[in-house]
Symmetry: C2
Amino acid sequence: MNLDSLIDSIQNFEGVTRKKSIENVTNLLKDVYNVSGETLLAFGDDASAIDIGDNTVVLVAADGIWGKLMDADPYWAGYCSVLVNVNDIAAMGGKPIAMVNILSIDNEKIANEVLKGIVEGCKKFNVPMVGGHLHPDSNYNSLDVSIVGIAKKDHLITSFGATVGNKVLVAIDLDGKQHDKFALNWDTTFHKSPKLVQDQIKVMKTIAEKDLITAGKDISNPGILGTLEMLLESSSCGAIVELEKIPRNSDVSWEEWLKIYPGAGFVLTAKEENVDSVISLLKKYSIETAVVGEIIEDKKLFLTYDNQKKLLFDQEKNPVIGLSD
Amino acid sequence: MNLDSLIDSIQNFEGVTRKKSIENVTNLLKDVYNVSGETLLAFGDDASAIDIGDNTVVLVAADGIWGKLMDADPYWAGYCSVLVNVNDIAAMGGKPIAMVNILSIDNEKIANEVLKGIVEGCKKFNVPMVGGHLHPDSNYNSLDVSIVGIAKKDHLITSFGATVGNKVLVAIDLDGKQHDKFALNWDTTFHKSPKLVQDQIKVMKTIAEKDLITAGKDISNPGILGTLEMLLESSSCGAIVELEKIPRNSDVSWEEWLKIYPGAGFVLTAKEENVDSVISLLKKYSIETAVVGEIIEDKKLFLTYDNQKKLLFDQEKNPVIGLSD
């Protein structure tokens, strides 16, 4: 394997490059993200947290489903709309409590498949779809889902807490398969029991409440290292990651593996003394976790392999989001 | 004015007829709206309510902005995305705490205008836009916003509580103007101070906490009487409404007035002894309220005018949503 070409491939991966467009939106909205004074976290986390008193926060996140997925497999798109949102709340150490959806349809058959997928997802994750809005006469098909959760204010997992010397962990369910039409969709939940899948969500809350990690983020479109870079940007630090320590299902090549969107996968940072507890807690629920590197002060993400050390992301030159200013 | 033609016009109004498409969606999702056992209300309310304990509920609602509004006036579409969502929470007697948006764009100029409108709306209503999701490469422009609020479990305003003999009230801010491009958009907030606009939201919470009404709903796309019919369907009852008692700005014809989407407007039901308190509380904040009729057992909405009494909606034959089964 050639480290240079792997790095080039990740840097130019659509899941990474698409994130840059957020910068303009967040710049325009930064004036109003905390207009009421009750928003706890800045942009850049899996969900936002609103302080409602009594050590309780309400978490809110939203995800739009990619048009290509809607067209290729609407049932799976519906199912994934639940999965990705539930994982956003899990990654905050929260309990998902409800979702709403906005569905635009120009084709009733596709809409029905999407809704059946949503129903399956709600049952699998035990999170209700409580309402939404329908555009019955649109000239495209799209699905947006928002989720709400609750968490303890003093036991939130955020993307902002990584500090120099922390270990970097990648936690991922290796028991899965690539989607027939989307090789980068690493399905680890559809064939599993609702109980195990729900336990994978709950264990993140346990880890949060035991204060075992300093930061954490759900692995999403930018892949394992793109997601880690987003966490590093939020935490204003860098990391050195040893490629071969990243847990991987060996049926999948490194190039694909680093870009997959897993059914259950997180990048975490922790103090060394808590690493073993995190690993053993997650292992109970089919999530394989390993220390893959360490947080450094320099705001760069380096990847090492076979005695080489290469720069993957540099927050000055090629950030994934570029929120820092 | 001809009552028959007015009735015909409302029955065939797009804002009313479009709502029927919801039926298929709600039928498919009804299995999962309460999968966790914590959802308090059935489909059909302005927002859903999730019990989080301690007499607190989290309210969640979602609204998509109509494509035609996005194209004609993207700034106003952004502003309205805040307004309609905030009103959904007000109509539940709740406090809006945060919004998220999902924006799909094929045109950066339009997106910027939308975002500027959102910023203005957030400042006006003092509700933060805390995050969202961006589809930077879509081939259409669309904006969906979800809102979260909190309310007291034992002081919720719902659409389900109207009972026979209750008075029907229409509460609406008459100090406004029709949008230049959308005559049915009755703007009552843009020119008002943030304080007054926010007080209009808060007074609904006060009315809820004083238990002054039995049911309430935010006047939205189906207009004043279409919205009332939705409330009647949720409450499984009917009403007789006297047209000329509905508060109206006389610059606007009855036909348009009954279809407008107001900046601040609600249909409410209350016991007779509480009617005066409701009217005087709302009057303080520029909302004109009047008793326009009474709840009846027969699941029909009748409209009277000039000694005529005509049937507008019949839940058996031409409901607006048709949730009852």
